[in-house]
Amino acid sequence: MTTSQPAAKGKRVAIRQDLFTTPLDDLNAVHLKGTKCNDCGEVFMGHVISCAHCGSESMKGIVFNDQGTLYTYSVIQYVPPGDYKGPKDPFIPFVEGLVELPDGIRIVAPVLDCDPKNARINMPLKLKVYDFFKDEEGNDVVAFCYVPA
């Protein structure tokens, strides 16, 4: 029964706090979390304690829609500076997108599984949550991206 011992395969940890719904066991069932202002309705990524639009401190947690469209994008042609954890040897150019969600927010995110040549403004996308790299403790670090819908 060794295959059923989760400890043996390392733990999953989120690349950023308060961004993913939990648990992280089934990544297909994980969504991005946000915060919505009870006063003006603006939404923000992750957990925030005040509304950067109206200044309200009356905020509630929400779960973002998985679907979106590509508002604009660029192509990352060279290895990004600093401690980039994606493939480096060889580096695989990828689309960086500003992804508009029906919730009223545009999120900067990698758009993967998409040949840069095929990227188009307004193309439909969907969230993908995935094991991105292993950290020093052997945990799988979970990141997000969008892929063509």
Binding site: I76, G82, G86, I105
Partner: protein, 381 residues
Amino acid sequence: MKKIAIVGVGIHPFGRFGEKSYQQIGQEAVRMALKDANVAWKDIQVAYLSSQYLPSTAASRVLKPLGETGISLVDVEAACASGGVSVNIAMLAVQAEACDLALAVGVEKMPRGFMDPMMNFEKWQVQMGLSTNPSYWAMSARRHMHDYGTTEMHLAKVAYKNHKNSVDNPNSMYRKAFSIEEILASPIVCYPIHLLEICAPNEGAAAIILCPAEKAHKYTNKPIYIEACVHVVAAYSSDFRVPIESMSARIENPSPVTLASQKAYEKAGVGPMDMDLIELQDTDAFCELQIYENLGLCKKGESGKLIDDGTTDRNGRIPVNVSGGLISKGEPVGASHLGQIAEIVYHLRGQAGARQVANAKIGMAQVLGARGNCAVTILKR
């Protein structure tokens, strides 16, 4: 509010200067400004130094070796708009009547190569590869192209103009004209931005000496008046710029450039069409186009047309970046806005040599950077 005059300017060329220390680079600009105003270091009553990359207490490090004073020497910072802040605060000191003679100096000696992205971005952004600065500019450019039909050629024309202008500016890092073909054939940094359409971080310094307008003639027979110097930070969802992680899809506030320039026009009692020259933040060629629109030189979406019709050429109706712009000069962040101001002062005084804009009476300088820090300064002779 009390009217303020610039009575001395100094600039250390922008570029790369090997082992030369930032102290020396800064001191040379300050000495030049002192000499220009015909005053001694001991006459200066307060000094504000802008930089983003120098170590803490840079003001003391740069200025104490100039001689014994005991005045307030202060470091200020606001990303690429840092220079606007040192000028703004130096003006406040004079306007508050705390002193008569104030120094604003910008100094920078930036690390070579890629800067540590952790300085601006969060760790998760760096790990996920979202920390490439030009890519944010490229995303803005691509949407603009989609919405308004702006083209790669429009961008190339901006770079062509600025490189051509730089040839006559001895303070510029690069002083070489390139053809449109060369620009479009240069490597793509991040589509639609080419290598010859983007600015490099570098080293340099510039300094100005301020006093109340009514005392300016003690120091110079060519005082230049600061009609407005406005610094703002982008309001919520008004600017898509590093290291942003998201934007509102519902709210679009006026851009920081719009906000700062509107405030500046109001203070100065002028409009964009009154300018005889403008120095603005061409971090990349698209950025210059976007700023045309946000300064009100043209309507939203019409900046491509503006560069096409030659309005901003050196011989056009409103020359923009006759210095060569950041694309040619490079961007020593803390010194950048002060360098723009020095350039405009030289034109307004008729001291700009081969690149002189004939009979320039009023000019504007503008910078913009991380987190939507923006400064706009309007100068008049």
